[in-house]
């Protein structure tokens, strides 16, 4: 046995070109597999990140009564002791921000036309810690000045024929169901990647709303941002844990995580995962073709050698064993290099990421891309890749060598 291994090793070292070529096929195939797996997962992650930072946030909290009546957006059922809740939430270290929001139904009017809208009241100091509107802002954010300020989605503003620094009339019912209407100064517009947001967003500050809606600081919703983790499943865990501890401490509240809020979207992501697996299989299939052929070629090259060995008394079993060991060496070499290469590039992707707005094709589509595509570590995929490389190398060595060893010795010696 040991002799066999020694011979196998020497064979492998002897013909470096052949060895390297065979191993290289494995390496390239595997590293592509690892990287692609990472990018596909990262792509989905980028989608979810964007959804979280623009609309769902990591966790949304409201009272049970409010949640049940949510469709009519009542200005009631506010969160009692909102400050206490906010303080409790911020104690957790994974929380990078928590902000209150209140929604209301209203109408925008430019005298020509009225448009029904759903408005949001935001806390201009803390809202940015949860929702990153910065990147999509045209004009300015709220300045906190005395006058009524408002921010609109860009498409909505276009529909109403207004722009930054124009004025528009907002009409709504106050907390006491009294009608109020007033002029608002448009300080900024939002131009995001989602046309729905661009058409439907109306934001005013709590200070303005206290006066305009008699809000008296009514807070109907609190949004929480949990720190992004490199691994999506860890992030999801963090969020779920936090949600549960909030729910335990404040049992009368409805606490929803982004997985519930974005369930339809995540459902489609499931499909993408399945498709991704099919793609991965194809990559591995191509790599397998390459490995197989490569090893097959080298076996055929050495049929005469096999003949010589058999003439010298090597048994068929030992011949096959020899090739298998050679296959193992090549397999290890190729798989190792492949995994190292793949992980190396992936490290860059995971830490630095790829800025989406630099992606050439995107720039022509007219959509204001923003964000970074980060790779994701998928240890399962990496291990699978390594094993796959080994197995294919082995199979590729076993089958042809079995066939070759069955040949009559004399024929083998004469083989060209």
């Amino acid at each position: 046995m040991r002799t066999l291994i020694k011979i196998a090793w020497r064979n492998v070292m002897r013909n470096k070109r052949r060895t390297v070529l065979s191993a290289l096929v494995i390496s390239v195939g595997l590293s592509i597999y690892i990287l692609m797996n990472s990018v596909m997962t990262g792509m989905d992650r980028a989608n979810i990140d964007n959804l979280i930072e623009l609309s769902t946030s990591s966790i949304k909290i409201s009272t049970e009564q409010y949640a049940e009546d949510k469709e009519s957006l009542p200005l009631k059922y506010g969160i009692p002791d909102a400050d206490q809740l906010l303080a409790y939430i911020k104690e957790h270290q994974q929380v990078i921000g928590a902000t209150p929001r209140t929604q209301f139904l209203g109408q925008l009017s430019n005298w020509e036309d009225t448009m029904p809208i759903i408005g949001q009241v935001v806390d201009i100091k803390s809202d940015e810690t949860v929702f990153s509107l910065d990147n999509y802002l045209v004009g300015n954010y709220f300045t906190g000045s005395e006058e009524n300020e408002i921010m609109l989605g860009k498409d909505l503003a276009d529909e109403m024929g207004v722009g930054v620094d124009d004025y528009i009339t907002l009409y709504a019912l106050t907390r006491y169901d009294s009608r109020n209407a007033d002029e608002f100064h448009i300080v900024g517009l939002l131009n995001t990647t989602d046309p729905n947001i661009n058409l439907n967003t109306v934001l005013i500050s709590y200070d303005t709303a206290d006066n305009f809606l008699d809000l008296e600081n009514l807070i109907t919703e609190i949004d929480v941002a949990v720190e992004r983790r490199v691994s999506f499943s860890q992030f999801t865990n963090d969020v779920n844990e936090l949600a549960q501890s909030i729910k335990k401490e404040f049992p009368e509240l409805r606490v929803e995580t982004f997985t519930e809020l974005a369930s339809a979207f995540l459902g489609i992501t499931e499909q993408k995962k399945v498709f991704g697996s099919i793609m991965m299989l194809i990559i591995l299939a191509i790599a397998a073709v390459g490995i197989f052929n490569s090893v097959l070629m080298s076996v055929y090259e050495r049929i005469r050698e096999i003949g010589v060995l058999r003439a010298q008394g090597f048994e068929r079993k030992e011949i096959v064993g020899l090739f298998i060991w050679e296959g193992i060496f090549i397999g290890i070499l190729g798989s190792l290099i492949g995994v190292v290469l793949g992980c190396g590039f992936n490290l860059y992707l995971v830490i630095q990421g790829f800025p989406l707005d630099k992606f050439v094709g995107f720039q022509n589509s007219g959509i204001p891309y923003w964000g970074t595509l980060y790779g994701e570590w998928n240890v399962g995929a990496i291990i699978f890749a390594f094993c796959f490389g080994m197995i294919v190398a082995l199979a590729a060595s076993y089958l042809p060598s079995r066939m070759a060893s069955k040949m009559e010795v004399t024929k083998a010696l004469r083989f060209v």
């Binding site: 020509e112 009225t114 006491y176 009294s178 209407a181």
Partner: protein, 248 residues
């Protein structure tokens, strides 16, 4: 005795500078309007015409109302809505749908919607007489509109749950009914305007038989309300205004 007289004198002087010539207060004017428009019961045919941009829709209705208990029964008689009925009791509203013979109660936010898409909301219709409870009244001027001399009253909300924060009324000095009303938002923005277009005299009382409600937040948007065949103080037993009757 003297203290009381002094007290009355002070009140008379301070509360109605403009009403000095007759010593009348805003509150008293409101009461007189109520007297004028007061009826035990009323029965009439009416129509509501809704104008939005170049769309015109007309609804015809037959109404019975009783002030005791603030009851009203409205039946729509125009072809598209024939058979639909509204029953109002105090501040509750039920609607009867003839196609399915079913009654549904309307509450909450729905009351703020315009009736049949008009500029009169259910709330506007139901609310009528609680005005003096929720508003402070003062006489701010005298003005002539539509050729008639009027008191101009300014009503400002005393409480927070009023539909309109402040209102201005032009009240006919001679006959005490409202020619015009403006409804304002908390910000001071004019929201709606009600103008009386035609009045008719019934046994010494003056009743508006044609009025319009104009939406001041949007151009070309108003509703005109007309009343015909008006009969006052007809005998209307209470069970007309019942849910059971609604379903027939």
């Amino acid at each position: 005795m003297r203290k009381i007289l002094l007290f009355i004198a002070i009140i008379c002087i301070s509360t109605s500078l403009n009403g000095q010539e007759q010593g009348i207060t805003g509150l008293e004017i409101l009461e007189k309007i109520d007297d004028n428009e007061f009826y035990q019961t009323i029965e009439y045919n009416g129509s509501m015409t809704i104008y939005i941009d170049d769309q015109i829709r007309t609804k015809e209705l037959y109404t019975l109302a009783k002030s005791d208990g603030r009851k009203a029964l409205v039946k729509f008689t125009n072809p598209e809505d024939y058979g639909t009925k509204y029953l109002m009791l105090e501040d509750e509203l039920w609607i009867y749908f003839p196609s399915e013979e079913e009654v549904v109660k309307i509450s909450g936010h729905m009351l703020k919607e315009g009736m049949m898409g008009s500029d009169f909301s259910y709330e506007d219709a139901l609310e009528a007489s609680k005005i003096s409870e929720k508003y402070d009244v003062e006489i701010t001027a005298q003005d002539t509109i539509f050729g008639h001399l009027c008191w101009v009253l300014k009503l400002t909300a005393k409480v927070k749950d009023v539909p309109y924060y402040s209102r201005k009324l032009w009240v006919d000095k001679e006959h005490f009914f409202t020619w015009k009303e403006e409804m304002y938002a908390k910000s001071g923005r004019l929201l709606k305007e009600m103008n009386v277009l035609k009045i008719k005299q019934f046994d010494g009382r003056y009743f508006p038989v044609e009025s319009e409600m104009v939406n001041k937040l949007r151009k070309n948007s108003k509703t005109v309300f007309m009343m015909d065949d008006i009969a006052f103080d007809v005998d209307l037993p209470d069970d007309i205004f019942s849910l059971r009757n609604l379903q027939h």
